[in-house]
């Protein structure tokens, strides 16, 4: 038994309740963050957090702490019991998940887990050394362990590794972006990523303005993944769906997107950052969200599935407790690839439009209609005669995502793993497998600053 699962079992034994669930999240990570080609914000973290949910007389209460000696666990158990005793009765409480076989997934690499702080610094140095321009971003790697134990028989533990490099090569008036993420260190090349960012940056000098309007566009995987994530958090959560607050509400079974567009939540795919179970202990599984343009499903956890009734079951999409107000959430979006060999081929299909590398600061303007605003950055270009042409200043876009996805010229063949980890609070690596996309409609509603720092 792993030390993490053992700690979950100890917490469970300390629990005072009719039912109990102990969740342990352990993090051993390092992030070498650099700016102006020097590390300015290194962060080495070692932490383990125990969350204890107890049910007393049908009332659930929750407490968490990172003090894990016996006295710490006793205090934690007392606080969880107090929380439960103070809670009103909850007739919608679905009960704890039953025990079962753990789904086997990839996602752990010994070499990545064993990286030392000095090695993390050297990998950051490899990125910096490969850049002819000032480099901004980070190299990070971490080991995350998630263990669940419950009175209902859950006994689960997953070790996850992740390594990633983010490279923004920038000077005054020019900037380019690239990133790589994997659960295997040997699939991350800091120097190559930095060089890709430099090559992009060199194309952005002399950026010009364009008039607001509706354009055809190519979005690289970084940009497309960000747009989809914001849309999916709202549109594919069973909570918002059930409350009729989101685009998907009332539209399951309707063809609302281009038939080239298929989207799934696929936590089992080894090309991504695989997950074995969710934060309720339910097994992860692939869930079809959009099939050939038809809205085919949303994500559920135990609570929302019970409230929805009508035979709904959890899809293994319960988030960590601090995100519970969002309802079930995706961790592993996966877009089916298309037929184009490259983003440049997509530009040929577009003919006349704009090319977007990356997005910045998105915000949902209207969740019911799927309206999202944000900015482009670090590599925005005009497409003319099917080729990437002059660089553009950063553009404000305000798109209705269903319109954006309604008519596609194509997608690239091979999806790319885009890191979606925010690295706020406890580490929980997640990312999306997304190709580049060419759309007939990308609404530009303003212009902002030029590229560069």
């Amino acid at each position: 038994m792993s030390e993490t699962l053992e700690l979950a079992q100890r917490a469970l034994q300390a629990a005072e309740g009719d039912e109990a669930l102990a969740i342990v999240q352990r993090e051993l990570s390092g992030m070498a963050r650099y700016a102006g080609s020097e590390v300015h914000q290194p962060t080495l973290i070692e932490n383990e957090v125990v969350e204890l949910q107890v049910v007393r007389n049908g009332r659930p209460g929750l407490a968490s702490a990172n003090r894990t000696d016996d006295e710490g666990l006793r205090t934690l158990a007392a606080r969880a019991a107090e929380a439960a005793d103070n809670a009103p009765a909850d007739p919608d409480f679905p009960g704890l998940a039953p025990g079962g076989e753990q789904v086997a997934v990839e996602g752990y690499d010994e070499t990545t887990a064993a990286l030392t702080a000095e090695e993390q610094a050297h990998l950051a140095a490899a990125a910096i050394g490969a850049s002819d321009l000032d480099l901004y971003g980070f190299f990070t790697s971490g080991l995350t362990e998630l263990a669940l134990a419950s009175t209902t028989g859950l006994s689960l533990c997953q070790s996850m590794t992740d390594a990633g490099v983010l490279a923004l090569a920038a000077v005054d008036g020019a900037s380019g972006y690239a990133e790589q993420t994997s659960w295997r260190l040997d699939e991350v090349d800091p120097a190559a990523t930095a060089k890709a960012a430099v090559a992009k940056a060199e194309q952005t000098r002399g950026a010009v303005q364009i008039e607001p309007g509706s354009y055809a566009a190519v979005l690289e995987p970084y940009a497309f993944a960000e747009l989809l994530l914001y849309f999916a958090y709202d549109a594919f959560s069973g909570l918002g769906f059930q409350e009729e607050r989101t685009f998907a509400s009332g539209r399951i079974g309707e063809k609302v997107f281009d038939e080239r567009f298929s989207l799934a939540e696929d936590p089992l795919d080894a090309r991504g950052l695989p997950k074995s179970f969710d934060f309720e202990g339910s097994p992860k599984r692939r869930v079809e969200l959009v099939s050939a343009g038809v809205l085919s499903g949303v994500l559920w956890d135990r609570r929302t599935a019970k409230l929805a009734g009508d035979g709904h079951e959890t899809t293994g999409s319960a988030p960590m407790s601090r995100l519970r107000h969002w309802g079930p959430l995706p961790t592993s979006l996966s877009v089916a690839g298309g037929e184009a060999g490259s983003s440049e081929e997509l530009a040929e299909l577009v003919g006349d439009g704009i090319y977007v590398t990356r997005l910045h600061y998105l915000s949902i303007v209207n969740p019911r209609e799927g309206v999202i605003t944000g900015m482009t950055r670090d590599g925005t270009f005009r497409i003319r005669d099917g080729r990437i042409a002059e660089p553009l200043v950063n553009l404000r876009f305000t798109v209705t995502v269903p319109e954006f996805l309604e008519r596609l010229y194509g997608l690239t063949r091979e999806p790319v793993l885009v890191n979606e980890s925010s690295f706020y609070d406890e580490r929980y690596p997640n990312g999306a497998l997304v190709p580049a996309v060419a759309t007939a409609r990308f609404d530009v509603t303003g212009t902002g600053s030029g590229p560069g720092v």
């Binding site: 992030m31 070498a32 963050r33 700016a35 102006g36 020097e38 590390v39 290194p42 962060t43 080495l44 973290i45 070692e46 932490n47 957090v49 659930p60 407490a63 968490s64 990172n66 003090r67 606080r79 107090e82 929380a83 005793d85 103070n86 809670a87 909850d90 702080a117 000095e118 993390q120 610094a121 950051a124 910096i128 901004y136 923004l168 920038a170 309007g213 409350e243 607050r245 009332g250 407790s321 107000h325 910045h360 600061y361 998105l362 915000s363 969740p367 019911r368 944000g374 900015m375 950055r377 404000r396 305000t398 925010s422 690295f423 706020y424 580490r427 509603t445 902002g448 600053s449 720092v453």
Partner: protein
């Protein structure tokens, strides 16, 4: 706690650091949230640990450990120093002098929020939710929160500081839905309500239950309201939206670490340059912005920041001219101005960053009614709904939960789905009036994100409603 910090600092110096500081932080937080009259969260969390920051030949190192004992303190110091020695880069850093500071600070609290039972907190939320009941309101939420952070800071320069910061807050939301349209109204502000460094008396002052019927009525009325028209017009913006406008278009761009580019890869940089200090026209003469880490009740209030710099108040924009930056000791030394005072870390496991403390739009004169009376044709915008701004903090777009037509100096029909957009200095240049002190409202938000790994800062802003001419309302191309 103090002894552990001293051990960590000594260990770092012994390992070769030229400067070291250590922070032990013990944070307890409670969240009670209800949704559709069921408890959604009833959480009680505690987190403790030590963070050690070092300089070795100009290179930063930072490591943390949850174990509050000698082993954890020394491990964090050792790892931070080892990383700094291996860190790539040129490393020429200086810190503005601060001297050896010894002090204590505690948030003044009338009623300890942790002395209020979780049951009473849940009951308050449920009562507020019941008061939100309305035929068209399909989803209601209410939440209250409390946090106590006890921290000790020790530096190799002789500083030794102990602080206890207490905060709490709450809010309610009503989502109305009808015929494919969904609208939201919130109180006292959007995105989880408002918090303050204060005791439970602050939550009681929010009057969640009392305000709920109005909130529900307005959410329902928005379903039948006309969409806000687009065009260039005069806008009057309420105090809450002005707080976010100030946060995004003044607070972040005046963070000097952003000006120097250290947030370029994530949160972005700034349209400001160091040489703009004292000369750049940021806005009209009605624009006065102050950074004040002494504001009673502010979430950015403290005795000392996380570098040991004493709290103070300073102008950031005075009569429209850029007059100050938000600084750390490092950035203050680099620009040769000031002594820092804006460095804060999100708990023990993060390195301090330049963060807003309390950033205020200073009041002008007159009332909200007088601002509106000065508008022949425009809109009054209330309560944030969406927000986005570019990486240099120039192009912004905000949406508000509700708007009101202004015709002939008087409020008219209710409007929904309002947005406005602009370029920061142009927008602030069009400011022609700020309402007076009687309209000035202080509110606190807890979701200001920055840094990698990410950190949430708790920040307060005070503002009065303000009026801007020639603003682009609406976004459709």
């Amino acid at each position: 706690m103090r002894e552990l910090c001293e051990q960590a600092v000594a260990a770092a110096l012994g390992a070769g650091a030229s400067y070291a500081d250590a922070r032990v932080v013990v944070r307890r937080s409670q969240v009670v949230a209800t949704r559709n009259q069921r408890v959604e969260r009833l959480d009680d969390a505690e987190s403790e640990g030590i963070g050690v920051r070092v300089l070795v030949e100009g290179a930063w190192g930072f490591a943390c450990d949850r174990r509050l004992g000698t082993e954890g303190a020394q491990a964090a110091a050792s790892k931070a120093t080892a990383f700094a020695k291996a860190a790539p880069g040129g490393h020429h850093r200086a810190l503005a002098p601060v001297g050896a500071t010894r002090g204590e600070y505690r948030t003044p609290v009338e009623q300890d929020p942790f002395a209020v039972s979780l049951a009473d907190k849940a009951d308050l939320c449920l009562r507020a939710e019941r008061a939100l009941e309305h035929e068209d309101v399909k989803v209601t939420t209410a939440s209250v929160r409390a946090q106590r952070e006890h921290k000790v800071f020790v530096s190799s320069e002789g500083s030794s500081i102990e602080q206890e910061l207490v905060e709490c807050g709450g809010g309610i939301d009503a989502f109305a839905t009808r015929e494919g349209i969904t609208q939201i109204r919130s109180h006292p502000s959007a995105h989880g309500g408002s918090s303050s460094q204060a005791g439970w008396e602050y939550v009681e002052s929010l009057a969640l239950e009392q305000e709920a019927p109005r909130v529900a009525e307005q959410a329902a009325a928005l379903l039948r309201a006309d969409p806000c028209p687009s065009g260039v017009m005069t806008v009057v913006i309420d105090a809450e939206q002005m707080q976010l406008q100030t946060h995004e278009s003044v607070g972040h761009p005046t963070e000097l670490d952003r000006v120097y580019g250290t947030e370029a890869a994530y949160a972005g940089t700034s349209f400001l340059k160091p040489e703009d200090l004292g000369s750049l026209r940021y806005g009209s003469e009605h624009m006065n912005i102050t950074a004040d880490s002494t504001t009673p009740g502010g979430l950015g209030t403290f005795g000392f920041d996380d570098e040991g710099v004493a709290a103070h108040r300073e102008p950031v924009v005075a009569e429209g001219i850029l007059s100050g930056f938000l600084t750390s000791r490092e950035t203050a030394a680099r620009i040769g101005n000031g002594s820092g005072g804006s460095m804060r870390a999100d708990g023990w496991s993060r390195m301090p960053l330049v963060r807003m403390t309390n950033l205020h739009l200073e009041p002008g004169e007159g009332s909200l009614d007088e601002l509106i009376a000065g508008v022949d044709d425009g809109v009054f915008l209330q309560t944030n709904k969406s927000w986005s701004i570019d990486d240099k903090r120039l192009n912004f777009q905000f949406g508000t939960q509700i708007a009101w037509e202004i015709k002939g100096g008087e409020l008219g029909r209710m409007l929904r789905d309002a947005t406005y957009t602009g370029q920061t200095p142009v927008f602030w240049g069009s400011l022609d009036a700020v309402a007076g002190p009687d309209e000035w409202v202080l509110q606190g938000l807890t979701n200001c994100g920055k840094g990698q790994p990410g950190q949430h800062a708790h920040v307060s802003h005070g503002a009065s409603p303000a009026r801007f001419r020639n603003v682009q309302v609406g976004f459709r191309s």
